[in-house]
């Protein structure tokens, strides 16, 4: 049973608009959440993370929102750029600090059209 779910396999947006990628989790023991970006034939690149004690974390064009009661998090990219086109993975950790085992979703393929 998947503990981290990304229900949208793909998302297409226009350059300059907002991209919103969603992630749901089922395990209430998760307390640290991360987003990674992955290009084909490369390893995932860390984008942004959030601890369960916060509900928002921002880094440049990337903002992650966490709704613990709904067990839902989202990644907002504003403004979207063609170089953002990649697969985005949501990941969660249950032991704090992010250095423990990560559980990944299946990813959402984002396409940003010029």
């Amino acid at each position: 049973d998947q503990q981290v779910k990304q229900n949208s396999p793909s998302l297409s947006v226009q350059e300059g608009r907002i991209s919103i990628l969603n992630c749901d989790y089922t395990n209430s023991m998760f307390d640290y959440f991360l987003w990674y970006k992955k290009y084909p034939a490369e390893g995932p690149t860390f984008l942004i993370s959030i601890s369960s004690i916060k509900d928002k974390n921002e880094d440049g064009r990337f903002t992650v929102f966490l709704n613990k009661s709904a067990k839902h998090l989202s990644l907002h990219i504003v403004p979207s750029q063609p170089g953002d086109s990649a697969v985005y993975f949501c990941a969660a950790s249950g032991l704090g600090g992010g250095s423990e085992k990560l559980v990944f979703g299946k990813g959402t393929k984002l396409t940003v059209n010029p």
Binding site: Q2, V4, P9, L34, Y36, A41, E42, G43, P44, T45, F46, S49, F89, A91, G97, G98, S99, K101, L102, V103, F104, G105, K106, G107
Partner: protein, 110 residues
């Protein structure tokens, strides 16, 4: 950010061969991990290590083995490769906070 290296990047090999996938990091991170990913699927943890001489199996059962003799080096070995081992293998390291990944090895077993 960690500098983490994996070799080879691509490997095509016949059934029954022994292979070792190399992973090295230069940041002195204590924790290292191996993940396996099939196309369109999530990454699955197959091995991890919290330091020298420490290795544990991950959530996904794997026929591979690992060793951690030096902090910077975490190789993965398959004694007898089979077509079912065809996948992408990703190595990561961390000290605290996020894990940082290498570029991966795409393994194809014929």
């Amino acid at each position: 950010e960690a500098d983490i290296y994996q070799t080879p990047r691509y490997l095509v090999i016949g059934t029954g061969k022994k292979i070792t996938l190399e992973c090295s990091q230069t940041m002195g991170h204590d924790k290292m991990y191996w993940y396996q990913q099939d196309p369109g699927m999530e990454l699955h943890l197959i091995h991890y290590s919290y330091g020298v001489n420490s290795t544990e199996k991950g959530d996904l059962s794997s026929e591979s083995t690992v060793s951690r003799i030096r902090t910077e080096h975490f190789p993965l070995t398959l004694e007898s490769a089979r077509p079912s081992h065809t996948s992408q293998y990703l190595c990561a390291s961390s000290v605290a906070g996020p894990q940082y990944f290498g570029p991966g090895t795409r393994l194809t077993v014929l």
